[in-house]
């Protein structure tokens, strides 16, 4: 209980700092917008009932239908919630399913067509800045002011992606923190321990830094014996995510305070060199395999380490995997900065409930998102195996069904990681920045460019992108984003 209280206190402190930082930014944000104290009365535990009641009242007997744009495969998380909402309010909910990789684009096209085809959408979190700038997302501050009870935001362990330039635009509904998986039994093996400590002078243990992680990969990589150091990924997106984590772990932000890229500094080059070196200790499928092939490959039991999300664990703990019960977990490794351990757990992807500006019932739509991400209903959503949502509220970690699916050890690591996750690059043009990065990273990984060349090219490209998108506006969001990095990381990063 006290742990939770200090979490809340930390958040309050962070919010005050944010309010200050945001207010001093070039484009001023309404003062007090971040003061979470002054919220509507309404207990956190009862928010779903209150939201439903308010929605029912607003609908006032009219035949209202809410349309939700959801990515294919997520219906399992959304339908049970929608059914209960309809039962409680009489408001109909319809679903428009979009192929998984196209949902952000579809929402953006709605900004162009303004057809009013859907009221609520579930875009991936990193796309929210672009969508806000395109003018398709409703600023939810006014509604949050009215309906969001105290503690609602804090109860969600990761809410960094909900905000853009100081205002709320969505509610996080998926705990997509990136975690590392290790073979507990291999770590405990006495023979292995001896071999390892003979060479490195320390026993086998869950690594805390990327250097330790890479050493373990190298140690366990014995393809002639049918064992591989790691599964992991060297494909699109994934390679950029791994670099993101490795780079932050060296103690730097990817941009300086004035949004000049610094990923091509010495630390960046070193991080990329280590990433390329680690590629040698991965299984051959790392270059081709997508997420589910990765589950199956790691589930074969012949690889030491892996990275993934809650969904990975759902599979690995399931009947088809050979490693259920044999795994140890941890956040993505950190680094040693000034001789102190710097932990940089990382949140990538994520899904957010948002309300579109072309909706005819934005307030009712907002109340649905509040309802869906409330502790009670989000637990029901996360429980369902037919969707992507992983735990993200305190209540989820206490639910017996959820605990059974993920295992308590995993949830412990998940909770610790999610709470303090560094965010993705929540900037307008995120797609461009990351695409330039991943193309150059891949070029370095296959040997077509040296790490220095790759990062220099990326930095130059990033400069061009920033200039084109409007540096002043981007700097505002960058400074805001920096201010809501987790406290420990924020004070350690340069």
């Amino acid at each position: 209980m006290s742990q939770r209280k200090s979490d809340v206190t930390n958040r309050k402190r962070r919010r005050f700092l944010q309010a200050g930082a945001a207010a001093t930014a070039a484009f001023a944000v309404a003062p007090g917008a971040f003061n979470r104290e002054a919220r509507a009365a309404g207990a956190l535990e009862n928010v779903h009932n209150d939201a439903a009641a308010a929605a029912k009242k607003l609908a006032g007997g009219r035949p209202v239908t809410l349309k939700i744009l959801e990515p294919s495969g997520s219906l399992g998380n959304v339908k049970p919630v929608a059914e209960r909402f309809t039962a409680a309010t009489g408001i109909n909910v319809e679903f428009i399913e979009v192929p998984l990789g196209e949902i952000n684009q579809k929402v953006l096209l709605e900004a162009v067509s303004k057809s009013g085809a859907f009221d609520i959408a579930l875009p991936a979190t990193f796309g929210i800045p672009d969508l806000v700038e395109a003018g398709i997302l409703v600023n939810l501050d006014q509604y949050a002011q009215k309906y969001e009870p105290a503690g609602f935001g804090d109860d969600s362990l990761y809410a960094t992606g909900d905000f853009y330039k100081g205002s709320r635009y969505g509610y996080q509904t998926d705990g997509d923190t990136y975690l590392a998986f290790y073979r507990k039994d291999w770590l405990a093996d006495k023979e292995e321990n001896k071999r390892f400590s003979d060479k490195h002078g320390r026993p086998l243990a869950v690594p805390e830094t990327w250097e330790e992680f890479d050493a373990l990969l190298a140690h366990f990589h014995r393809p002639d014996q049918g064992k591989f150091g790691g599964a992991l990924f060297r494909t699109q997106y994934f390679i950029a995510w791994e670099f993101w984590s490795r780079y932050h772990a060296k103690g730097f932000y990817p941009f300086d305070g004035d949004l000049n890229p610094q990923i091509n500094n010495e630390a960046g080059i070193k991080a990329l060199e280590e990433l390329v070196a680690a590629s040698k200790h991965l299984y051959p499928g790392a270059r081709t395999n997508g997420l589910f092939e990765n589950f199956e490959a790691y589930g074969q039991g012949d690889k030491f380490a892996n990275v993934g999300w809650g969904g990975t664990q759902k599979y690995l703990n399931g009947p088809k995997s050979k490693v259920a019960g044999k795994l140890a977990f941890g956040p993505l490794p950190g680094g040693k900065v000034n001789n102190k351990l710097l932990k940089t757990p990382y949140f990538n992807w994520g899904w957010n409930y948002v309300v579109t500006t072309t909706s005819k019932e934005p307030e009712i739509a907002y109340l649905f998102t509040l309802y869906a991400t409330s502790p009670v209903l989000s637990t029901i959503a996360v429980r369902d195996a037919g969707g992507y949502f992983d735990p993200f509220r305190e209540a989820h970690y206490k639910d017996p069904e959820i605990i059974k699916v993920y295992t308590p050890e995993f949830l412990k690591a998940h909770h610790a990681s999610l709470k303090d996750s560094i965010p993705d690059l929540y900037l307008k043009g995120q797609g461009e920045y990351f695409d330039e990065l991943r193309v150059n990273l891949t070029a370095a990984d296959v040997g077509k460019k040296t790490p220095k060349q790759a990062l220099d090219d990326t930095a130059a490209a990033w400069q061009r992108i920033t200039r084109r998108l409007g540096k002043r506006s981007q700097v505002v969001q960058w400074q805001f984003l920096k201010s809501i990095y987790p406290d420990d990381v924020r004070t350690a990063l340069v």
């Binding site: 979009v98 096209l109 859907f118 997508g290 092939e293 969904g311 088809k320």
Partner: protein, 299 residues
């Protein structure tokens, strides 16, 4: 309709073997689709690959056509794929059929009329055909956002009419070019002769020329139908749930617990081919003959 071959007759066995090899290669990926469509989900990406499954299942087809019964089946058979899907593919097939057929009909109709006009009267000048063809050179991606903007202005987004008109326009250059080639091969004296007998130009076209190029028009219709039936990009971006096509439906078969549902996509792919094959079969008599560009040609 075959003419004399020019290859020496001793090579008959070799020739037949080459044909068989070509047929096998043509069929291999299709075989893989069919085979995967009846595999249980453990075998979709199994290693070593399963060429012919020993545990055939209809679950993939159930998911495509009757998702509710698929869920019931999965509930009773442990290990069977349980996939929660928003709706059955019947609507996708129906919508695709409607849109593709209507668009093909309009495209070939307008195209034939225009092709006759260009062939006989040179309407539009000598560069007009190339101008038309250049419309097909535009990579569709570049046109998507302007199309979305335009269609939303005209209130045509997510409507059957919108997609039909769009598809008609996209395939018109193709229709016009192909039909024009056929009409070009029909000598104008035939029409002239008919007109001497009192028919108007247009009647001559209908009664004399058209029957001669009927095969070619049907072949064009088949190709245009294939283009419409397989179109993905605009089906995705110009619709928002009210209208859906087969191509968009296939892309939705992704599940959170099992990733891309290869077997279900294969089942959908297999069924999607049937209408095209049916159309091709119906006009097969005309297919190669029609492509012989008219039956009157002097030596």
């Amino acid at each position: 309709m075959a003419v004399q071959g020019i290859l020496p007759s001793w090579s008959t066995a070799l020739k037949r073997f080459a044909v068989l090899a070509a047929m096998a290669l043509s069929f291999l990926p299709i075989f893989w689709l069919l085979s995967t469509s009846i595999k249980p989900h453990e075998e979709w990406a199994a290693f070593p690959p399963v060429w012919v499954t020993t545990q055939p299942t209809l679950q993939n087809y159930r998911i495509v056509f009757a998702p509710e019964s698929a869920r019931e089946f999965a509930a009773t058979q442990s290990g069977s794929l349980d996939y929660k899907v928003a709706g059955s593919a019947w609507k996708a097939f129906g919508d695709s059929a409607l849109i593709s057929t209507a668009a093909t009909f309009l495209s070939v109709l307008f195209g034939t009329l225009a092709a006759y006009s260009i062939s006989r009267f040179g309407t539009g000048g000598s560069t007009y055909p190339l101008q038309l063809l250049s419309l097909r050179m535009f990579p569709p991606i570049a046109v998507v956002v302007p199309m979305v903007a335009l269609f939303s202005l005209l209130k045509l987004t997510d409507t059957y009419l919108g997609l039909i008109i769009a598809y008609t326009a996209f395939t018109l250059p193709f229709s016009i070019w192909m039909v024009r080639s056929f009409i070009d091969e029909v000598p104008t004296e035939l029409e002239g002769a008919a007109m001497v007998h009192g028919l108007t130009q247009f009647q001559a076209f209908l009664r004399v020329t058209l029957p001669l190029v009927r095969g070619g028009i049907l072949a064009t219709a088949l190709f245009v139908f294939i283009l419409n039936w397989s179109e993905f990009l605009f089906a995705l971006t110009l619709t928002s749930g009210h209208v859906t096509t087969v191509t968009v439906q296939v892309a939705k078969y992704v599940s959170a617990s099992s990733g891309t549902l290869y077997g279900v996509q294969a089942a959908m792919g297999a069924i999607s081919t049937l209408p095209v094959i049916a159309f091709g079969y119906l006009i097969q008599r005309h297919l190669v003959r029609g492509l012989t560009f008219g039956t009157v040609k002097q030596a």
